[in-house]
């Protein structure tokens, strides 16, 4: 393990996000500037005057990681300095409040790798619903009750939205498949321009899971088709981890506190939604259709 992110940070045991960041940065190496949105990563790694970062790192506000990265990337280019510029934020920081900054940076074409560490809710503020929260998940602002079964809407398809900016590379990844994540980061770095990687990063307190289960859950999300691993390269879809038969959704959902209220019909709906999405991706791959 490299020394890009030093031990001594205060992330939870089993934190998926810090695993994701560490592996992304290991794949990039030390010639990097990290632009981080507000969130757990800032809080757990940079309590003034300490830092866990051994690479240049900047945080400004919640909603502007990709805009800050735009300035960093252009200023480094002005100085003739070559370094990989990464904008990292959670689902809140990239899919909700920072979505405009992300979209603007992609549209302008800056040479930036945008990483969404997706733990599917506002975890740093105490597990509130985001557009990345899956349907039926119970959060503190979409709690399951006697009438409502958690969040009422399906998760935002941010990767397709990003790909629709005509960027050269967009991919999902999971901390359950670290080699796949590393390979995707390296592949992304081969492209000039905007790249997006959306990494599933289970959150122990947010999902209500055991710290030892982070990686196996992140695998199970893939095996059930709930989190398919795929990439969109120059507008063409390719599934990077194919599953002959998707595992039943309860294998992933059971054991997570956020889903413990689910009734069989909810589980069935999640399974059908995942299957339809997986089949849609498969047919896109088979057709070789250039989507964007």
């Amino acid at each position: 393990m490299s020394d890009i992110l030093a031990p001594g940070h205060t992330a939870c045991a089993g934190c998926g996000e810090i695993i994701g960041e560490r592996v992304v940065l290991e794949a990039i190496g030390k010639n990097v500037v990290v632009c981080q949105a507000t969130g757990c990563m800032e809080i757990t790694t940079t309590s003034f005057p300490t830092t866990a970062w051994k690479v240049p790192w900047i945080h400004v506000t919640f909603e502007n990681a990709s805009a800050v990265a735009s300035g960093v990337a252009e200023a480094l280019a002005q100085q003739g300095k070559k370094a990989t510029v990464v904008a990292i934020g959670g689902d809140g920081g990239m899919m909700d409040i920072g979505f405009q900054a992300l979209s603007g940076a992609m549209e302008r074409g800056h040479n930036i790798l945008h990483v969404i560490t997706d733990n599917e809710a506002y975890m740093n503020t105490g597990i509130q619903r985001s557009s990345g929260t899956p349907k039926y998940a119970s959060t503190t602002t979409s709690p399951a009750g006697s009438v409502l079964p958690g969040k009422g809407e399906w998760k935002k398809d941010i990767l397709m939205v990003c790909a629709a900016h005509h960027i050269p590379y967009a991919a999902t990844a999971s901390v359950g498949y670290l080699d796949d994540l590393k390979a995707k980061v390296k592949k992304a770095m081969e492209y000039e321009g905007p790249k997006v990687i959306q990494v599933l990063t289970p959150c122990v307190p947010g999902w209500g899971t055991d710290p030892s289960k982070t990686v196996s859950l992140a695998k199970s999300a893939v095996e059930t088709g709930i989190w398919p691993l795929y990439e969109i390269e120059h507008g063409k879809v390719k599934i990077t981890h194919k599953t002959k038969e998707l595992r039943p959704p309860e294998e992933y959902l059971t054991g997570q506190k956020r889903f413990k209220h689910l009734k069989p019909e909810h589980i069935a709906a999640i399974g059908e939604h995942a299957k339809a999405n997986y089949e849609r991706l498969l047919s896109l791959e088979t057709s070789s259709l250039q989507l964007f």
Binding site: K30, V33, P56, N64, S70, E74, Q78
Partner: protein
């Protein structure tokens, strides 16, 4: 070509070009838009070295400037009104991160109702953000302040907003001397305190627990108060090099009289004419942040009556921000201090109106606030 008949925005843009910012972020908003438009045309003509980032909001404009400045280069943007308000969160972050970014704020009223015309509510509402705030009285001064702002910012490690009145200055053509060369006055920016470079990793923009947080905020306040000396020194150096100065750099006093009018911005051109007619003194505030307390106390010593005329209102308190701050600074003085809130949303502040203001001096009570339209 030094002396030329030129629009205020274009004159400022020419000076910005001479200051050689490496990154310029741009987002349109009336009435600041002519500045980025002029700079964009320079870029299109191959006359501008810096990289222009045409962002998708003012929030991203300042965000991109923060990112650029954090790598150790000069960064610049211009905005007005709603645009500055949208930057609010980042204004505090910029100052807290001690980044020497310069913004030309082309002053305009804030919604609601929506209004594109001039007053000072936009920048005055950001007075506690930690930015140095300079207010130009003329287009010439806006040009001179812009180059001074970069040097002040980089010497103090504080961001600076150069405020110029929307339309009255930004869209007005008049004779302005834009120097051809300012090299000696503004050295290249060489950051030493912090910059993002893989060869020397630094963590910038951390969070802090209460004690270190408050310590850093106190340091920021001290730096802002201390910047008074740098602002004056830079002003004096410029005056020496270019033969043009404005009072002591913080305030400019013209005329004499037992009654003083204290004001800010381009309306001072009209006030100066009326004050001269009426045998009154004008104290024009050039620098509102840091607040030039000692200079104002000195200039207003022994006055019988002081009238503050300003284009912003501390809603719910009555009067403008400058009036309240001046009253606080002059506590214990025998002078009677009153305030006129004028020109909100671009209401014309005419010579005739200002004559009435001057004639009202004896009838004003201490602490009295009057609005132009009441």
């Amino acid at each position: 070509m030094p002396n030329q008949i030129i629009e205020g925005s274009q004159a400022v843009a020419k000076m910005v070009r001479l200051c050689k910012p490496k990154v310029l972020a741009m987002y349109p908003i009336t009435p600041s838009t002519h500045i980025p438009e002029t700079l964009a045309q320079m870029k299109a003509n191959g006359e501008l070295d810096g990289t222009i980032i045409r962002v998708e909001s003012e929030f991203s404009a300042l965000s991109a400037c923060i990112g650029a400045s954090s790598t150790g280069v000069r960064a610049y943007t211009a905005t007005s009104s709603q645009g500055l308000a949208l930057m609010h969160e980042l204004l505090f972050a910029t100052a807290g991160m001690r980044l020497p970014i310069v913004i030309n704020v082309v002053n305009r009223a804030l919604s609601a109702p929506l209004n594109i015309f001039n007053d000072h509510q936009d920048s005055m509402s950001e007075r506690d953000s930690g930015w140095i705030q300079l207010y130009a009285g003329t287009n010439q001064e806006a040009v001179d302040m812009t180059v001074q702002a970069f040097r002040i910012a980089e010497e103090c490690l504080l961001p600076v907003m150069v405020c110029m009145d929307g339309f009255y200055l930004s869209h007005t053509y008049e004779v302005v001397d834009v120097p051809d060369d300012i090299k000696g006055f503004l050295p290249d920016y060489q950051p030493e305190h912090c910059y993002l470079d893989p060869n020397k990793p630094m963590t910038i923009g951390t969070w802090a627990m209460p004690e270190p947080y408050m310590k850093l905020r106190k340091e920021l306040n001290d730096a802002a108060e201390k910047s008074v000396g740098t602002i004056q020194k830079v002003h004096d150096d410029y005056a020496k090099a270019f033969g043009r100065g404005y009072g002591d750099g913080l305030i400019e006093v013209t005329g004499e009289g037992s009654t003083a009018i204290v004001s800010i911005g381009s309306v001072c051109q009209n006030i100066e004419a009326v004050a001269k007619e009426k045998g009154m003194q004008l104290v024009r505030v050039r620098c509102f942040r840091p607040f030039p307390r000692q200079q104002l106390i000195g200039a207003l010593k022994g006055k019988k009556s002081i009238i503050v005329i300003e284009k912003n209102a501390a809603l719910g308190l009555g009067g403008g921000a400058m009036f309240h701050e001046l009253r606080s600074a002059l506590k214990g003085s025998d002078a009677k201090i009153a305030c006129y809130v004028v020109g909100l949303g671009g209401v014309d502040v005419t010579l005739d109106y200002l004559r009435k203001v001057a004639d009202s001096a004896d009838s004003l009570g201490d602490g009295e606030v009057r609005w132009q339209n009441e």
